[in-house]
Amino acid sequence: MAKNIANTGLAADLETVEKGSSLGRDAWLRLRKNKLAMMSLGFFVFITLVCIILPIQIGDWSILPDPNKTHPSLKSLGPFSSAETAEGEAKFFLLGSDYLGRDNLSRIVHGGRISIAVGVAATLVSLMIGVLYGATSGYLGGRIDSVMMRIVDILFALPFIILVILIITIFQNFTIGGQRVFDGNKQLLLVFITIGLVEWLTMARIVRSQVISLKAREFVEAARSLGLSNWRIIWRHLIPNTLGPVIVYSTLTVPAVMRFEAILSFLGLGVQPPNASWGSLIKEGADLMVTNQEMLFYPSLVFGLTLFSLNFLGDGLRDALDPKSSKD
């Protein structure tokens, strides 16, 4: 009887202990203390919500004006300017208008939607492939590791900008029955799938090298001697221990993908006009920076702040997730 009580007591204790010290909860508690990281998280969530909610259109009504509507008579207006269109319609440009008389704010918000979507989606694709691939390769070792890493080397050796340019050029002009398959916005799909498929390589290498030094540790040996399967060891014991570097690298991958998309837009392969992303807006702004500074300033500011926040958030997460830093 007494034994029974002791047992249930122990079980309850274990449960609370496990809950209290779970990696995610611990990390969250520590992250909350980091003001800079929390501000960054707040900013990123805010900018993402703005980019998701503001462009919503219900029938003909929308909060923001059409980002692609040009006003030949209202070119290059400054911020906070109200003006009348040629049709006599009153317009208010919070952040001014661009060289074709389009609303800057609306273009930035719509562009942000595309940039963030491409950044996050391509990073998630690369994260999943990279972590699983790297962990498997590093843990199994030997010939399998060797073959898997050679595949990564081969993909590395083709500078991915070249791969992406070739693939986009091929599929861009790919027609079925005289109809382009990847037309207009569908080309964006092509862009982020291709970026996602080439960006996982570094992640795989980082995770692999982490796993290789981790798997020689006692806790993996202990797990193995308990009879856990390879898959369970990788999933429950190795991958959680690589989370720190993986998260730091992921936060660097999102801005890297956004930059990559911007480079593609610069070379004319990213978002196709009249649609815009932050990258293509900045490119337009850089082209016209002598005559119209607003067009460069606002997109660069939002783009820069978003990347700033992602980077500081990553730093905060690193401190929060790294078990070693909890020592002091």
């Binding site: 050796a157 900008i161 091929i170 090298s209």
Partner: protein
């Protein structure tokens, strides 16, 4: 002996990788829709046939591939259809030094600026110096290359009048190109160095060294540096791919006649030999550098060497 076998196997793997890259590029370059022989003017059918026959385009693709590989061994990279009168080998001979120089200068600049900043920031974590250095690094990372380029041109050329922007002569393009390319990577490397140095500095052996009374500088550079620099060395491999991507932009912004420009032209002009040639050179460069990085890493962190 072990080390020699490791190096040899790495080398053979690189050669195999190069072969795969060449094959992949050949078939990708040939499957771009459109023909290299099309002109603005309509080309008569019989002339088209003759031109195709002259360049072996009438044969099956697999046979063309065999001919292409055979020609490679004799150093014949084929003609460039877009640049009449030039062979691909001549174009590469002209543009490779430009690209290699910009890339190497950019990388060296990034390492020289980035590593000290990272080490310095890591030696004073969470201080105001740390924050301001990392903010500077972040500015480099966050601004796209094609904004930094023209901005530098404005600041150094128009405002400070250090360079003659109107002429865009050689030196201007070189210096500003290097700066533009290097700023991004110096930021990246500074962050990477700081992160891994902090990792190493929190290890027990560093505490032991400090407890022994080793000076702060000696702890940083004798004990922590070798371990802390390892991820930076590992990063150089993938960085090359990004340097190539960045150099595409830098070359186009500053009008430097490098490999990237020719590759882009090759793609837009449907110039298969030019595409294959430029990719071959870029891929060989990357493979060779990755090979060197692997060896350097095995030396820095012997655990990374083939364990089994």
């Amino acid at each position: 002996m072990d080390t020699f076998r490791y190096i040899l196997s790495r080398f053979l793997q690189s050669l195999f990788a190069l072969f795969c890259v060449l094959t992949l590029t050949f078939f990708l370059a040939r499957s771009i829709p459109g023909s290299p022989f099309l002109d603005e003017k309509a080309v008569p059918a019989h002339l088209m046939e003759k031109m195709k026959a002259k360049h072996g385009y009438d044969k099956p693709l697999i046979e063309q591939y065999g001919v292409y590989l055979g020609n490679l061994f004799t150093g014949n990279l084929g003609p460039s259809f877009g640049n009449k009168g030039f062979t691909v080998a001549e174009i590469i001979a002209q543009s490779l030094p430009v690209s290699a120089m910009v890339g190497a200068l950019g990388l060296i600049f990034a390492l020289i600026v980035g590593i000290p900043i990272g080490v310095f920031a890591a030696s004073r974590p969470n201080s105001s110096i740390d924050y301001s250095l990392m903010a500077f690094a972040m500015v480099g990372i966050c601004l796209p290359t094609f904004v930094i380029g023209p901005l530098l041109g404005q600041i150094f050329g128009l405002k400070l009048k250090l360079f003659d922007v109107a002429g865009w002569d050689g030196s201007t393009a070189w210096v500003l190109g290097t700066l533009t390319l290097g700023l991004y990577f110096s930021g990246y490397i500074a962050r990477l160095t700081r992160g891994s140095m902090l990792d190493v500095l929190s290890q027990d052996y560093i505490r032991t060294a400090t407890a022994k009374g080793v000076s702060r500088l000696a702890v940083l550079f004798k004990h922590a540096f070798r371990g802390g620099i390892s991820p930076v060395v590992a990063y150089i491999g993938p960085a090359l791919a990004q340097i190539i991507a960045g150099s595409f932009v830098v070359e186009s912004v500053f009008g430097l006649p490098g490999l990237g420009q020719h590759f882009i032209k090759g793609v837009t002009n449907r110039d298969p030999y030019l595409i294959q040639g430029t990719v071959m050179v870029l891929a060989s460069l990357m493979l060779f550098m990755n090979f060197l990085v692997d060896i350097a890493q095995a030396w820095l962190d012997p655990r990374a060497k083939l364990k089994s």
